[in-house]
C-alpha cells in the first residue's frame, strides 16, 4: 500500500513524477469534495434556523445554530411513526432474510442432498427471468398482502444472490467439522446452527449490510402497496412525498395525499432535517461493516 507498483524504488522520483502525483491528488480531492459537499451542505442547513436559511448562502457550517428543525419533525405527524416502521422493517427483514438465506445456502452446500442439482437450477433461473412489475403487483394484491407489514418482509425473504454468496463461503469451510459433529450425534439442523453459522460471521455481516441497506432505502414497495396506509409508511416514502410535492408542485401519489402534503409544505430546513434523519442511520452502520464488505468484495472479484 505504501508503494505504488508503478514506481521504481531504485530511481529517485523525477520532476515529471512529482507533477503527475500532484495532479492525481488534486483530481481525487475534487472527487472527495464533490462527493461530500452535498451531505455537509444539507447537514448545515438542517441545523440552521429556518428564518435564517431563506436568506441563502449556507455552505458547510450552520449560521444560526438550532435543534428546532429536528424537534419539529419529531413532533410532526407521520415522521416518528415512519421512523419506527423503517427501523422495524430493517431489523426484522434483515434477521429473517439472513436466517432463510443461510439455511438454504447450507442445504445447497451439502453435496449429498438429494435435490441439490434441482434446487440450484431452480434458484438460478429466477436470476435470469423475472415476471416484471405488473404480474408481481397483481400477485401481491391477490395474496391480500396490500396494506400489511408482511409485504416488506416476505417477498424478499429468499434472495438467490445472497444464497449463492453464503453457499460459496460454506463450501470453503473444511468438511471435517461437519463430519465430527455428526459423529458426536448432531443432526443436520444442529450442525447448521451450532457449527456452520458461527463460522459464517464475515459473509453474514456482508449480506446483513446489503439486506439492511436495501430494507432501509426501499420506498417503492411502500408506494405500490402501502401508500394509502399512514400507519405503515416508511421514512423514505415520507421523504419522497415531501420532496416530490415541493419539487414538482404536483403530487406523486394521489389526491388525498396531495391535500395532506400541502398543509405541511416544508420549509427548506425541515426538508433537510428529514433528509438527514433518513440518511444518517444507514451511514452509521457501514463503517463498522466496511472491513467485511471490502473483504467480501475482494473475494467476489474475479482473480487473474
Amino acid at each position: 500500500m505504501s508503494q505504488s507498483p508503478y514506481r521504481n524504488p531504485l530511481q529517485k522520483p523525477s520532476v515529471m513524477d512529482r507533477v503527475v502525483d500532484i495532479g492525481i491528488v488534486v483530481v481525487l480531492l475534487l472527487v472527495v469534495i464533490v462527493t461530500l459537499y452535498p451531505f455537509l451542505n444539507v447537514l448545515a442547513i438542517s441545523f440552521n434556523a429556518s428564518s435564517d436559511t431563506v436568506k441563502g448562502g449556507i455552505t458547510i457550517f450552520p449560521r444560526a445554530f438550532t435543534f428546532d428543525n429536528y424537534r419539529t419533525i419529531f413532533s410532526f405527524g407521520s415522521i416518528p411513526q415512519a421512523f419506527l416502521i423503517s427501523v422495524l422493517r430493517t431489523v426484522v427483514g434483515t434477521v429473517l432474510s439472513l436466517i432463510a438465506c443461510s439455511m438454504v445456502a447450507y442445504v445447497l452446500s451439502r453435496k449429498d442432498f438429494v435435490f441439490r442439482n434441482f434446487l440450484s437450477r431452480y434458484l438460478a433461473i429466477t436470476m435470469y427471468v423475472s415476471g416484471g412489475m405488473i404480474p408481481f403487483f397483481i400477485l401481491i394484491r391477490d395474496l391480500h398482502l396490500m396494506n400489511t407489514f408482511t409485504v416488506y418482509i416476505l417477498p424478499g425473504l429468499v434472495n438467490v444472490f445472497f444464497i449463492f454468496m453464503i453457499r460459496s463461503f460454506i463450501d470453503a469451510l473444511p468438511y471435517e467439522l461437519q463430519e465430527s459433529a455428526k459423529l458426536d450425534g448432531a443432526n443436520d439442523f444442529t450442525i447448521f446452527w451450532r457449527v456452520i453459522l458461527p463460522l459464517c460471521k464475515p459473509v453474514l455481516a456482508t449480506a446483513a449490510l446489503f439486506i439492511a441497506v436495501g430494507q432501509w432505502n426501499s420506498w417503492f414497495d411502500t408506494y405500490l402497496f402501502n401508500g394509502s396506509n399512514p400507519d405503515l409508511t416508511t421514512l423514505q416514502f415520507e421523504l419522497m412525498k415531501i420532496l416530490q410535492s415541493t419539487q414538482t408542485g404536483q403530487d406523486a401519489v394521489n389526491g388525498n395525499d396531495m391535500a395532506r402534503n400541502m398543509q405541511q409544505v416544508s420549509p427548506e430546513s425541515i426538508k433537510m432535517a428529514i433528509t438527514m434523519v433518513t440518511t444518517v442511520p444507514i451511514l452509521m452502520v457501514y463503517p463498522f461493516l466496511q472491513r467485511y464488505f471490502v473483504a467480501g468484495m475482494t473475494l467476489g472479484a474475479v482473480k487473474g
Binding site: 462527493t35 416484471g132 404480474p135 424478499g156 432505502n217 433518513t278 468484495m297 472479484a301 474475479v302
Partner: protein, 352 residues
C-alpha cells in the same frame, strides 16, 4: 443496471451490488474464503453404499435438510415463478375478477397496440438513450478512478478517498434526488453559483428536458463511482507483482506500466462487466427517472418501466402493462445472451 431490477427483490429495494452481476459460476470459482488455509474438501460417498439406499430412506435421512429448504422453495415459487406465469396476462384481456380459465384470450393484440403507440417509442428512445449514455460514462469512469487510486502511494489518503467515495452508494435514490435538486437549484445551488461567478446565465437544469439524460447519468455516476471501483481495485491487487518488476527491468515508465501491465491485467474483469452491462441496457429500471423527473421534463424521463407502471397500475390496464414487461425482459435476455455469445466467440470465455 441488473436483471434484478425487475425482480421482486429489487422492487423491495434490495438490488444487489455491482459484483452481483458476476455469474454464479464465477462466484463459485473464487478461491477459499479463509485465504487458502483450508483446502476445499469434496465429500466422497462410496458408490455402492449410495446405490443400496432407496429414495425414501434417503429422504427420511435428510429430513432436516428438506425442512430447511422446502418452505423457502415454496416462497420462491410464489414470488418468482408465479409472476413469470403472469406473462400469460399479456395475451389476455385480463379481468381481475375472473379466474384464469374465464379470461378472454386476445393473442398479440396487446403487443400490436403497444407497437402502434408513439409513447412506446418515446419510452424506448429514452431508455436506450440513458442506458447507452450511462454505459459510456458510468462504465469508463470507475476504471479511470481505480487506475488513479492505484497510483497513490500514501495509504491513508487512499483509504480516505475510497471510504468517502463509497458513501453515496448507501444512500437511497430518494435522498440523492433531493440532493440533486438542491445542488442544481437556481436559487442557492452551488453549481449555479459557480456558473454565475464566471459571469454566465444561471441554468434551470431540472426544468429542461435536454439536460435530463445527463442529470440522471451524472447523478448515477456520483452515487456509484466509488462502489463500482472496488471490483477493479481488487482485480489490480491480484496482478502478479513480478510482471511489474519485469517491465521495470525492461525500462517501462509509469504510463507504459499502466498501459501494458495493469490494463491487460484487469481486462477480463472489464469484459465481464461490459457484457453484463450490455445485457442490462434495456432494464435500467425507473427509480432514478421517477424521482428525478418532473412534469416539465416528462418527454425525456419516460422510460419503459415507467410506461408499464403508468398504463399497467395507474390505469388498471394490467394486460398492456404486462406486455411491456414481457418485451422488456425478452429484449434484455436477448441482449445478455447476444453480448455473451459475441465475447465467447472472440475470447473463448463465457460470462454467464
Amino acid at each position: 443496471m441488473l436483471w434484478f431490477e425487475q425482480s421482486p427483490q429489487a422492487q423491495n429495494g434490495q438490488s444487489p451490488p455491482l459484483w452481483a452481476t458476476l455469474s454464479t459460476d464465477l462466484i463459485q470459482a473464487r478461491p477459499p474464503v479463509t485465504g487458502g488455509r483450508h483446502m476445499q474438501m469434496e465429500r466422497t460417498i462410496p458408490a455402492e453404499k449410495k446405490r443400496k439406499k432407496g429414495l425414501l430412506s434417503t429422504l427420511s435421512e435428510q429430513k432436516y435438510l428438506l425442512f430447511m429448504s422446502v418452505p423457502f422453495m415454496v416462497l420462491v415459487f410464489i414470488f418468482s415463478y408465479i409472476p413469470i406465469w403472469g406473462w400469460t396476462m399479456a395475451f389476455q384481456r385480463y379481468r381481475p375478477s375472473k379466474t384464469f380459465w374465464e379470461q378472454e384470450w386476445v393473442g398479440f393484440a396487446n403487443f400490436v397496440k403497444m407497437f402502434e403507440d408513439p409513447n412506446f417509442y418515446l419510452a424506448l428512445k429514452n431508455t436506450l438513450g440513458m442506458s447507452v449514455l450511462g454505459l459510456i460514462i458510468g462504465f469508463t469512469m470507475p476504471i479511470l478512478f481505480a487506475l488513479l487510486l492505484n497510483e497513490l502511494r500514501n495509504g491513508f489518503f487512499k483509504r480516505f478517498v475510497q471510504t468517502v467515495s463509497y458513501l453515496p452508494h448507501f444512500v437511497s435514490w430518494v435522498v440523492v434526488s433531493g440532493l440533486v435538486y438542491k445542488m442544481l437549484s437556481t436559487d442557492d445551488g452551488p453549481i449555479n453559483q459557480l456558473i454565475a461567478m464566471f459571469g454566465y446565465e444561471k441554468v434551470q437544469f431540472m426544468a429542461k428536458s435536454e439536460y435530463f439524460w445527463f442529470v440522471v447519468v451524472l447523478s448515477d455516476l456520483w452515487k456509484e463511482l466509488g462502489w463500482n471501483t472496488i471490483i477493479y481495485l481488487s482485480a489490480i491487487t491480484a496482478i502478479d507483482g513480478s510482471l511489474y518488476e519485469a517491465a521495470k527491468v525492461d525500462g517501462a515508465n509509469r504510463w507504459q506500466l499502466m498501459r501494458h501491465v495493469t490494463l491487460p491485467g484487469i481486462s477480463r474483469v472489464i469484459v465481464i462487466l461490459l457484457v453484463l452491462s450490455i445485457g442490462h441496457l434495456i432494464s435500467i429500471g425507473f427509480e432514478k427517472q421517477m424521482l428525478l423527473g418532473n412534469p416539465l421534463v416528462s418527454d425525456a424521463s419516460q422510460v419503459l418501466d415507467l410506461y408499464a407502471l403508468k398504463y399497467g397500475i395507474g390505469e388498471n390496464n394490467f394486460s398492456f402493462g404486462t406486455a411491456i414487461n414481457v418485451i422488456n425482459s425478452v429484449v434484455g435476455l436477448m441482449l445478455l445472451f447476444g453480448a455473451n455469445g459475441f465475447f465467447k466467440k472472440r475470447t473463448g470465455e463465457s460470462v454467464i
